[in-house]
Amino acid sequence: MAAVVREFTKGLWKEVPPFRLVLGLCPTLAVTTAAKNGIGMGLATTFVLVCSNLIISILRNAIPKKVRIAAFIVVIASFVVIVELMMQAYFYPLYKILGIFIPLIVVNCIILGRAEAFASKNSVLPSIADGLGMGLGFTMSLTLLGAIREILGNGTVFGIHIMWESFQPFGIMLKPPGAFICLGLILSIMNWISSRQRSH
C-alpha cells in the first residue's frame, strides 16, 4: 500500500510534469490562457493517462516487445477518441477552445513516456496510481500557469476580477511570448527551490 501511495505522490511534486519532467509542453503552453482551460486540458489528459496505464499494465505480458510502441499508441489513441467525442457532446464550449489540442493528446510525450517507463513494467494498481498522480500533477501545473497568465493578462482568475480598478492588463501574457516566458520563469523558480532544499 505504501508503495502505491508513493507512486501517486511522486507525480504531485518530485516528478511533476511538465515542470520537472520537461515533457508535454505543447498543450501546456497553448491552452493556458485561462485557469479554466488548464483544468479542462489537465483532466482530459488525466483520463487518458489513467485508462491507458490501466490497459497497458493488464496487457503488458501479452504485447510483443518489438511492436510495443505501436500497440501503446493504438491504446492511447482509442482513449483520445473517446475523450474527444465525450467533450464534443457534453462540454462543447471547452471543446471549441481547446480545439486541435484534444486530438494532439495522443502525441503528448507524458502519456507515451509513462506507458513505456512505468505501466509496461508494473502491475495494475501501481500503474493506476502513477497515472493518477502524474495526471493530477499535470492538471495542477496547467491550472497554475493558466491562473498566472489570466491574472496578468486579463486581471481575472476563473473569470472573477481580482485586480484593482486601475490595473492595466498585459495583453502579451495571453500571446505566445507570454506563455514561453512564464514557463521559463516557473522552471527557474523550481530549480531555485530544489537547490535550496538540497543545500539544507
Partner: protein
C-alpha cells in the same frame, strides 16, 4: 499564384508553427543545443511533415470520408504517421544510406512530434486541396526548421556567457523562445 504565395508567407512567418501555434515544443528545446543536430532535425521534420500530410490527406479523402469514418481521424492519422516514419526509415537505410546517417536518430523521435499530427489535422480542418496541403505542409515545416536554426544560433552563443545557475538550460531556452516569438509577433496580421 498570389494565393500560394500568401499561404507560404503565412505558414512560415505569420502563423509560424512553433512560435505562433505552439506545436512541436519538446524536440524544439531538446535538439537546439548544437547546430549540426538542429540542422539534422530540421531536415527530418521538413521531409516527414510534407510526406505525412500528403498521405493523411489521401487517407482522409479516399478512406475516411467515403465510409463516414471521420470520427476515427485521430487514430487513423497517428497510425499512418507512425507506420510512414517506420517505412521511410527502412527505405532510407536500404537505398540512401548517406541521408539515413544524417537523419537516422531523429526519425523515430518525430513520431511523437506533435507538429506532424498538428499540420495534418490543421490542413484537413481547413479543407485544403491536395496541392494546397502540400504547399502548406512544406512551408510550415520550413518555418519550423528556420525557427529551430535561429534558436540554436542564439543558444550556442549564450552557452559561453555567465548565466545565473537556476536559469541555465531549459529555463533560459524558453525565455529565448519567448523573445523570438515576440519578434515574430511583428508579422501578426500581415496575412490572415
Amino acid at each position: 499564384m498570389s494565393e500560394y504565395l500568401l499561404l507560404i508567407v503565412s505558414a512560415i512567418f505569420v502563423n509560424n508553427i512553433i512560435l505562433a501555434r505552439y506545436l512541436g515544443n519538446c524536440p524544439f528545446l531538446g535538439t537546439s543545443n548544437r547546430m549540426d543536430t538542429a540542422i539534422g532535425m530540421a531536415m527530418a521534420v521538413v521531409f516527414v511533415i510534407t510526406l505525412s500530410s500528403a498521405t493523411t490527406w489521401i487517407v482522409q479523402e479516399y478512406i475516411l470520408k467515403p465510409f463516414d469514418l471521420e470520427y476515427l481521424q485521430t487514430i487513423a492519422f497517428i497510425l499512418v504517421i507512425a507506420s510512414l516514419v517506420q517505412l521511410v526509415e527502412m527505405f532510407l537505410q536500404k537505398s540512401i544510406p548517406g541521408l539515413y546517417r544524417a537523419l537516422g536518430i531523429f526519425l523515430p523521435l518525430i513520431t511523437t512530434n506533435c507538429a506532424v499530427l498538428g499540420v495534418a489535422v490543421l490542413s484537413v480542418e481547413s479543407h485544403m486541396s491536395f496541392i494546397k496541403t502540400l504547399v502548406f505542409a512544406f512551408a510550415s515545416s520550413v518555418g519550423y526548421g528556420m525557427a529551430l536554426v535561429i534558436l540554436t544560433g542564439i543558444r550556442e552563443r549564450s552557452a559561453t556567457s555567465p548565466i545565473p545557475v537556476h536559469l541555465r538550460g531549459t529555463p533560459l531556452g524558453l525565455i529565448t523562445v519567448a523573445l523570438l516569438a515576440l519578434a515574430f509577433l511583428g508579422f501578426a496580421g500581415m496575412v490572415k
